[in-house]
Amino acid sequence: MKVSYFETGRYVLPPDLAREWPVPPAAYDPGDGAEAFRGMVDRVQFVERLGFDWISLSEHHYSPRILTPSPVVSAAWIAARVNTIKIALLGPIVPTSNPIRIAEELAMLDTLAPGRFVFGLLRGTTNEYLSYDLNPTEARERTDEGMELILKAWTEPQPFGWQGRYFQYRTVSLWPRPQQPPAPTYVLGTSAEAGAFAARHHLGLGVSYGNFDSMARATGYYRQQCAQYGWSPGPDDIVWRANMILGETDEAAENALNRRDKQAPFPVRAGLRDALIAADTTRNIAGQSQRANVGGVLPISFCGGPDRVVDQIRRAREQIGVGVLDLSLTDPGTGDMDAMMEGLDLFGRSVLPRIREI
């Protein structure tokens, strides 16, 4: 089992911040922002020393909790400051972006530090469509087309045009190209569309934030699709981004779970939430319709002391086929950095050495 640490650019939230999205920019403190990004380097260097295989980054907008609207900028900042750990961009949000820009920027990263990157292509959560003014009903198709175009731009040796449904380019001709083949690339999502696309293009699949059964359904569908295309994914082809609460003992972990904030930190107003859910109707897990998650609290998938967590990780390998666990050990926005570093340290000492053979 490989392990990844999900770095969110931890901005320490002032206690009196309004708990509603969008949070007014007036509440932002530039000094705290700079500190969040300085801390990003400390944390990534720390998990590198602990022996983590990857750190992962995400794209979120207008978010005090996850201060990284551009994973590419985060990645470039980090890549110059670590030595061995792989940097996974999980990932650029495709439907709200210019796919050629994504193709170019990822190719540039892959060229700056060959062999050090992992890429994930993401549809993005429903709320993200508000930031770049995307019609939620078009998100699925724009993602599929955008991904197809990114892969074409990476591999096509001659200049070409693209006559799409949502994107049109008369001239595409990338310089620099990514490494050939490009860095390991994942389609991110639990949907049938994500699984089928990844299978057709021989890409990995990254799933996130669900229970064991739903994640297993998503990866099972993906494996079934891969078989139809005549190949079989290995453990490294399946990534699971999940929350873990690790304690010195099971009891300590359960106490922490009970103390966890049960409310979404910055929910959108109920009327907007319901309208968003109504507009985003194509969400599914392996083809089974699923309500969009707008401002819901993300589940804790692993909880316990080291022994129990090791057992849970073994089960994740067996049931879901996951070979890379992308972990958050504390909720983003948690202000207690010492507790967070202690959690990472505990994982590095008491769990990591025991899951290598899983």
Binding site: K152, E156, Q158, F160, G161, W162, Q163, T171
Partner: protein, 268 residues
């Protein structure tokens, strides 16, 4: 000839040329746009109809196919280019654009290479001028053929009626004249060609993999490669709007078609 959808504007005719009695369908006004069909024979599509709003579209049925009759004389696509040149001239056309689909691409390329003053520009739809080794023309029931030529056969409202006998005859003819998978003489002619050529491949083409497009870019000095997203082999049938937009723009502006002129002002 199979009519698909509502194409009432097209009228039928025959022209005598090179000893053949050649069937064609035509509609529209302006500089003629000659269509040379694929190995399955001609089929009017919504793209023909849309293009005929801006061009005088003449869709030929090449000798050896359907109503243009049995053909034992033509021995190569270069021969066929001579015959089709005669047919075009016999209709009084002195300058035209060419649109060729799949099998028709070799005929069109020979025609453009040998008649540079006749052909203004050329659009190759899923061309079979360069074929994967051992690739065969599609055959089988309409459903089987549909699975080979469409990315989304389930979205096709209607399929042509089954005609296995006709299909076998056509196939025999195509196999006889189509030439080797890579034709050195044709490729040498392509290298010399100065005519603007638009090369279209569907991103989901199972018969002519879109990766073949790069060879056309390498061979054609004034060649332009465009991928039509989510289309199979039958691009103009599956994505007629996308096909017609890029084709019309290219025929109008040639290489300048790469310059975007679509306004993006939302509210002036």
């Amino acid at each position: 000839m199979t009519l698909q959808g509502d194409t009432p504007r097209f009228s039928e005719g025959f022209v005598e040329a090179d000893g053949f009695h050649i069937h064609y369908m035509s509609a529209g006004e302006g500089l003629p746009l000659i269509h040379l069909h694929g190995a399955g024979g001609p089929r009017l599509t919504p793209a023909h109809d849309k293009l005929s709003r801006q061009h005088r579209v003449i869709a030929f049925e090449m000798p050896g196919f359907g109503r243009s009759g049995h053909n034992t004389r033509t021995s190569s696509t270069a021969d066929m280019a001579e015959t089709m040149h005669a047919a075009i001239r016999a209709l009084g056309v002195e300058r035209c654009n060419l649109w060729a689909t799949s099998f028709g691409a070799r005929v069109a390329l020979w025609l453009a290479a040998r008649q540079p003053t006749l052909v203004s520009a050329l659009v190759l739809e899923a061309p079979a001028a360069i074929r994967p080794a051992g690739q065969m023309p599609p055959s089988g029931s309409p459903e089987e053929v549909a699975r080979m030529i469409y990315a989304h056969p389930e979205r096709q409202a209607s399929l042509p009626a089954a005609d296995l006998a006709g299909q076998a005859k056509t196939r025999e003819f195509v196999m006889r004249v189509r030439g080797p998978d890579r034709d050195a003489d044709l490729e040498a002619a392509m290298r010399r060609l100065e005519t603007p050529v638009l090369v279209l491949f569907g991103t989901h083409d199972q018969l002519m993999p879109p990766e073949l497009g790069r060879h056309y870019k390498e061979l054609l000095a004034n060649g332009h490669l465009v991928f039509v997203y989510d289309a199979g082999h039958a691009i103009s049938t599956e994505r007629p709007e996308a096909f017609v937009e890029v084709t019309s723009d290219f025929l109008e502006r040639h290489e300048a078609f790469v310059i975007n002129r679509v306004g993006t002002v939302k509210y002036p």
